[in-house]
């Protein structure tokens, strides 16, 4: 598989703020890639570098095999972008903006445009300022999905959309995937990411802390286990990777690092299992772990080393 986006060791500073501190990102062609991180982690900065709006201080970035800064214009023929906060011109109607953006890219499919306008329930005759936030977002989404491009870069594209429109959006992304287009989706809506994305990258403080398929990532987190045993548990507390152990008679509750699950199960069956429930980690837990780390951890050195360890 070819790569749609490859970024390695990307650095970008604004004055004394290091927005990107060696960020890595790989997006395969044809996949929907989730791009996650707390506010201020550097998602939008990365996207702006990928669009050639900002010039990276150092590091390598390639979009569809080309340099996003030097080949910006030629590249943008194949790229559609939806920002998280769409601003429109007050005296241009939504329809005019959709058509303009389409023509400024590789072209626009009129049938798909009409279809999308209907599905998103957008009134294309209204003018800039009279749209609500959600409707401004729809203008950019229709323009992006109707454009004839290979790569969609969506930066929190559904902010302001109602749940029905959120569903329409997810349907559109599925269609894009079916057509073999690549989508980079930056989002905070975890159900959306879980539903849509083949792989995700989580970034924090300008570096990638985790990347992989959701199954891969689940592997890195803890599974909760509740078991009722035939006999008293033995030695569970000393097993590596066991957390929050709570033993009440024959009832055991614990959390275990998913890659250490094997030893725990062995120990449980040794005592005899009467009932067992195992809950895989939710995406929320996955993210919260990283997002909360952001609040507690401050040393930047430990960040970069742990990032290496996890991505390996």
């Amino acid at each position: 598989m070819t790569k749609a986006i490859t970024v390695s060791g990307l650095h970008k500073s604004f004055g004394s703020t290091h927005a990107l501190a060696g960020l890595d990102l790989e997006v395969e062609a044809g996949e929907v890639h989730g791009f996650l991180g707390p506010n201020g982690a550097g998602k939008s900065t990365t996207i702006r570098v990928l669009l050639g709006l900002l010039r990276a201080d150092s590091g390598a970035a390639q979009l569809l095999g080309r340099d996003p800064w030097a080949d910006a214009v030629e590249l943008h023929r194949h790229v559609a972008y939806v920002p998280g906060d769409v601003t429109l011109w007050r005296n241009l109607s939504g329809g005019e903006v959709i058509d303009l953006y389409g023509r400024l890219r590789g072209g626009l499919d009129p049938a798909r445009r009409a279809d999308l306008i209907e599905r998103f329930e957008l009134d294309p005759t209204k003018k800039g300022r009279t749209y609500s936030k959600g409707n401004r977002q729809k203008v950019a989404l229709v323009a992006a999905f109707a454009s004839d491009v290979d790569l969609l870069i969506l930066d929190e594209p559904t902010s302001g959309l109602d749940p029905l429109m959120e569903e329409v959006f997810q349907g559109c992304v599925e269609e894009e995937r079916a057509r073999g287009r690549t989508v980079l989706l930056s989002s905070h809506i975890l159900s959306e990411v879980e539903e849509l994305c083949d792989r995700v990258s989580i970034i924090r403080k300008g570096v990638t802390v985790e990347t992989g398929s959701l199954a891969d990532l689940r592997h890195l987190t803890r599974t909760s286990i509740t078991a009722e045993l035939a006999g008293p548990p033995d030695g569970l507390a000393h097993l590596p990777g066991v957390h929050d152990l709570d033993v009440q008679g024959l009832r055991v509750k614990l959390q275990v690092d998913t890659d250490k699950l094997d030893a725990v199960l062995r120990s449980l069956t040794a005592s005899g299992v009467r009932s067992l429930t195992s809950t895989p980690p939710t995406l929320e837990e996955l993210f919260l772990r990283h997002y909360q780390d952001d609040a507690t951890e401050t040393a930047p050195t430990s960040t970069s080393t742990s990032a290496k360890a996890v991505t390996r």
Partner: protein, 536 residues
Amino acid sequence: MTTATARFATRPGGSRQLAGTATLLRFALRRDRLMMPLWVGVIGLLVVSMPNSLKSIYGTAAERADVARQMLTNSSLRATYGPVFSDTLGGLTAWRIGGYAGVFAAIMSLLIVVRHTRDEEETGRQELISSAMVGRRAPLTAALLAALVANGALALLIAGGLAGQGGPGALALGLAVAGVGMVFATMAAIVAQLTESARLAKGLTGGLLGAAFVLKAAGDSATADGSSVLTWISPVGWLEELRSFADERWWVLLLFAAAALVQGAVAYELAGRRDIGMSFLPTRPGPATGRLRTAGALALRLQRGALLGWSLGFLAAGAAFGGITKGASDLVGDNDKTREIIERMGGQSGITDAFLATMVNMLGMVAALYIVSSVLRLHGEETSQRAEPVLANAVGRLRWALGHLTIAFGGSVLIMLLGGFGLALGYGAELGPILGACLVQLPAIWTLGGLAALLYGLSPLLAPGAWGAAGLALLLGWIGPALNIPQTVMDLSPFGHLPKLPGGDMAWTPLLVLTGIAAAATATGLAGLRRRDLST
């Protein structure tokens, strides 16, 4: 439940329309802490430094009396400078700078008012503010009070600074300048209720100010003592009617007060009758499909309204000034004695040409404001985040910028030609020489446009500096000669290097050099734009 009701009941009725005004006023003054002192300081210093400058030009009482006599007899000079009511240093100060100070105070005031009213609504910031304990009319009140603070400070500065020339005259001039400011502050308050766009509100109020200025000039040329009805219907003319330092007619101040109060009341009434963010000129729906194909077409679409406004304004201003000049030469023709005086000074056609040249030059300097505003549309598009999605399409920065620059530079040609056309039409003169004179202004206009492109291209932070440069050129051109400013400083303005046409000798070298400078600056700006980060 009862406690909640009681809490609401403590302030009954509609008395809370102004809630939060004090906080909003402090907030406005905080936001304007740089802009306001700068405006007040520059205008105030201009006025206060005038007596000294005049003293160095017209050293003796006899010379000053001579100036006054010239203004009394020569209507075309009067149209440019206004009548003199007293040949004291104070009287000459009021004559030479009063009108311009009033115009600048008006610009300052309209900017302050629109900035804190329509601008806030257009950007959506007002919504959050109004969701707090802020009365419906508090934002407008705070904006007008902010303008009052600025104009009050200006009045004090002028009254104090000129006190040496005569206390009452200084006070009258200070109050009159502030009065013009407040009339246009309240006018801007009305216009801001009518349009949804802050830019349009500023443009329309600026257009009304231009009309008031032209009316005053026409009135000045028509009569020697300012008794023309044209002067009386122009708020800028009232400043003259007050006759500072020459037996002040204090009751004229009532005109300012009445106009400001009536306009303020209208604005208040309108503000209370509409929803936030809405306007009385409604937004119509647009087409469902668009025909814009390129970034250049988008730029034209975005700028066409402003260009249309400038075009009409230049045509009208040209025609009005042409008409004034015609009246002036007719007057000269009728009166043997005046003709004799003027002929001794260089002949009738010489005077008319000189006057036309002054008018063309003035149009040119105002066109510099157009080109700066048009070039800085790039800046506005970038900082409002609208450039980002456009540039994320297959649009190069160069092409995007060139779209706007073409309109800026081409538009300056268009409006100068229209201004010249109006001038020739109003005067009834041959079109060719006047159009030629208008085109000769272009290299200077382009130089300022090039400077704007240069500053913007290097960094969006520098871009507003282009306004400073255009303002400086305007100041030097209008008032520089009277201030006796050293030639090296005068040479800073590109307009100072232009041949004086019609009437003067054509000189190609400065035109080519200025055009070269403009081209180099624009190219450097574009090169910078290609290299730098887009502001986020």
